[in-house]
């Protein structure tokens, strides 16, 4: 009996310690998920500077009061489920970290040339987090017409097929200017 008791106490203590460790880890993870979701964090790597600049000047950047309309992760991570969100965040995060560490260079203009300017790496579920009602009262007639087929599920096209410039404006032009500036320097 005594033996069981002493063992039971040890198990209890072990469980308590494990719980506390798990709690700390969970807290730590949550904190990291949050801190790596800021615009500043994404922009802390130099590779992201042009994307940050074009975003800041674009429709989802800062408004006149300095308020952010949509952060990087609002569009570039899926918002259909928490699991998918975390999984994609981990995958994309590791990919970007590796690319940064090995100094991978991407010729974006060449990439877009082959794939067409309207290829995007954003998720429609992100758009829908904020833009819930596409055919709302007071919507202009032309927008009503444009969104009708989408709302009825009669087209395969996504938000981004038409609104591809909302995130970063005319990204191709911006990168051309950057390339030109480099050449003139």
């Amino acid at each position: 009996m005594r033996i069981i008791n002493s063992n039971g106490g040890a198990v209890l203590v072990a469980c308590l310690i494990a719980f506390l460790v798990a709690l700390v880890l969970a807290f730590f993870s949550a904190q990291k998920v949050k801190s790596t979701s800021t615009v500043e964090f994404c922009n802390s790597c130099h590779e992201m500077h042009p994307f940050h600049q074009t975003w800041a000047a674009g429709k989802h950047g800062y408004d006149s009061m300095g308020v952010i309309r949509a952060k990087c992760v609002d569009c570039h991570l899926p918002h259909d489920s928490l699991w998918n969100y975390l999984k994609t965040k981990m995958k994309a995060g590791l990919h970007d970290m590796k690319a940064h560490l090995i100094g991978k260079k991407t010729d974006w203009l060449a990439l877009w040339k082959n794939r067409g300017p309207y290829v995007h790496e954003a998720y429609e579920s992100g758009c829908k987090e904020c833009h819930k009602k596409l055919v709302a009262a007071g919507i202009p007639t032309k927008a009503f017409t444009a969104h009708r087929a989408y709302e009825l599920g009669e087209t395969e096209r996504t938000c981004l097929d038409c609104h591809h410039e909302v995130g970063h404006g005319d990204l191709v032009s911006a990168f051309r200017e950057i390339a030109q500036n480099k050449n003139t320097k």
């Binding site: 067409g116 300017p117 202009p140 007639t141 032309k142 017409t145 444009a146 087929a149 989408y150 009669e154 087209t155 395969e156 096209r157 038409c162 410039e165 005319d170 990204l171 191709v172 032009s173 051309r176």
Partner: protein
């Protein structure tokens, strides 16, 4: 008081005089610039951004014809403006600026493809892109070796020394082929089209990779559904000796009713709701595209077709040209809105038989040609060889007339312009064949001297 009034009066008079001088001066200045006579100032603010309103205000003076046409259409009612369709990103290969935009960050293109239309009409464009009116239409003008040779080497007179570098070499392509089929738009350094490659027809391929011109049938800038429902919309390309579809239609009972009663028809019902009753006979669009009975509108003009009546040998459509078996069933459902099963069956049987008859002739011609080729009795230049020239007209002109005349109820085209000519052409082919086999040589002069038997 009197003095004060006197002073004010003088001031008013002086101002009026100055105003008069100014207006005369302005009028004189205006007379030197080219301003279209139809000068209306449109100021529209309702439902549009200041940029969009600016386009309209400026173009109502500069190109009033465009704005006058636009304002009567449904686009204008839906507040879809110049800006919505013509503005492109700066990085677009077609981006340029008109004088009103220079200095601003707004870029436009005069070239508007189906991709732009698809932003509001996605299903229509998806269907259209699957049809023979899209990529397949411009294939002969952009890709196909045989027709490229025809456009530049033969029609462009390269064969008698007119270099490909001369702009007159492209004249036939720019004035002819491209205007119905569409071609590849080529751009200069200012992002404006060069070599007369724009505007073009239905299958035009644009520099941004998009394909198709919706304004071929729904002409700009009214984009009218009524217009596209009328046979005249199709007639701008589907006419002439090689596919006289409008002539066949006008000869048919459908065309007869259209010609005599069409003015009283209701042309503007909503898509899918335009049904028998609105009209008393079908137009091209009714059978090939419109929503009728339980069928929905389609912009895939291949969808309701069984046979390929275009190429040398007629086969049931498959692959990128459609699904003929399905098409036959769909067309029956179209017919059933106005006809009983006995007549539908007769019409379908008549077409099947006409196709079989034509194919019988064609197979015979192919057999003769093979034999001549094997014996080295076929001229190297098909356009200076009687046998090959007649064989071309057999399928491309008379053969299509016979088949399409049978399909759309044009007896004169099925018979006089069709099979009546086919049998004679075939006899000519036989004569040439027999002569060459018997004498083991090709005639010294081509037996076909002109553009051949029409």
């Amino acid at each position: 008081m009197k003095k004060l009034f006197g002073r004010t009066g003088t001031l008013i008079l002086a101002t009026m005089f100055l105003g008069l001088i100014c207006s005369v001066a302005c009028a004189e200045e205006g007379a030197n610039t080219v301003t279209p006579k139809l000068h209306k100032e449109l100021v529209i603010k309702r439902g549009m951004s200041p940029e969009a309103a600016k386009c309209i205000e400026c173009h109502s003076k500069k190109t009033p014809g465009i704005v006058e046409s636009w304002k009567k259409g449904k686009m204008a009612h839906a507040t879809v403006t110049c800006y919505d369709c013509h503005v492109v990103e700066k990085s677009s290969p077609m981006a340029s600026q008109c004088s009103g935009l220079s200095g601003s960050n707004v870029y436009i293109s005069p070239m508007v493809s189906s991709r732009t239309c698809s932003r509001c009409h996605p299903q229509e464009v998806e269907q259209f892109l699957k049809s023979g009116h899209a990529k397949l239409a411009s294939h002969p003008v952009v890709v196909k070796e045989k027709t490229l040779n025809l456009m530049y080497h033969l029609e462009g007179a390269q064969f008698i020394g007119n270099s490909r570098a001369n702009s007159s070499n492209w004249a036939s392509r720019a004035a002819g082929c491209q205007m119905c089929h569409g071609g590849q738009v080529e751009l200069g350094p200012d992002h404006k089209p060069v070599k007369n490659t724009w505007p073009g027809g239905v299958g035009t391929r644009y520099p941004d990779g998009s394909i198709g011109t919706c304004t071929v049938c729904h002409t700009r800038h009214q984009f009218s559904v009524e217009e596209a429902r009328k046979p005249e919309a199709c007639a701008s390309c589907h006419l002439g000796p090689d596919h006289p579809d409008i002539e066949i239609y006008m000869e048919s009972k459908h065309g007869q009713i259209f010609a005599t009663q069409g003015e009283t028809w209701e042309w503007d019902s909503a898509p899918d709701a335009w049904q028998p009753g609105d009209y008393t006979a079908p137009t091209c669009a009714t059978c090939h595209m419109s929503g009728i009975g339980d069928l929905s509108t389609t912009h895939n003009i291949n969808e309701r077709l069984k046979w390929d009546l275009v190429h040398p040998k007629s086969v049931i459509r498959s692959g990128e040209r459609g699904d003929g078996e399905k098409g036959a069933k769909l067309m029956r459902r179209v017919c059933a809105n106005c006809h009983g099963p006995t007549q539908i069956q007769k019409e379908i049987r008549t077409l099947d038989d006409a196709v079989a008859l034509y194919n019988f002739y064609w197979d015979g011609a192919v057999k003769m040609k093979k034999e001549l080729k094997a014996k080295g009795l076929l001229g190297k230049d098909p356009w200076a060889d009687g046998f090959q020239e007649i064989m071309y007209y057999l399928w491309h002109h008379a053969g299509r007339r016979a088949r399409q005349g049978a399909a759309m109820n044009g007896p004169d085209y099925a018979h006089w312009h069709g099979f009546f000519m086919i049998f004679q052409m075939y006899k000519d082919l036989q004569q040439i064949y027999n002569y060459r086999i018997k004498n083991n040589k090709i005639e010294e002069l081509s037996t076909v001297m002109s553009t051949g038997p029409l």
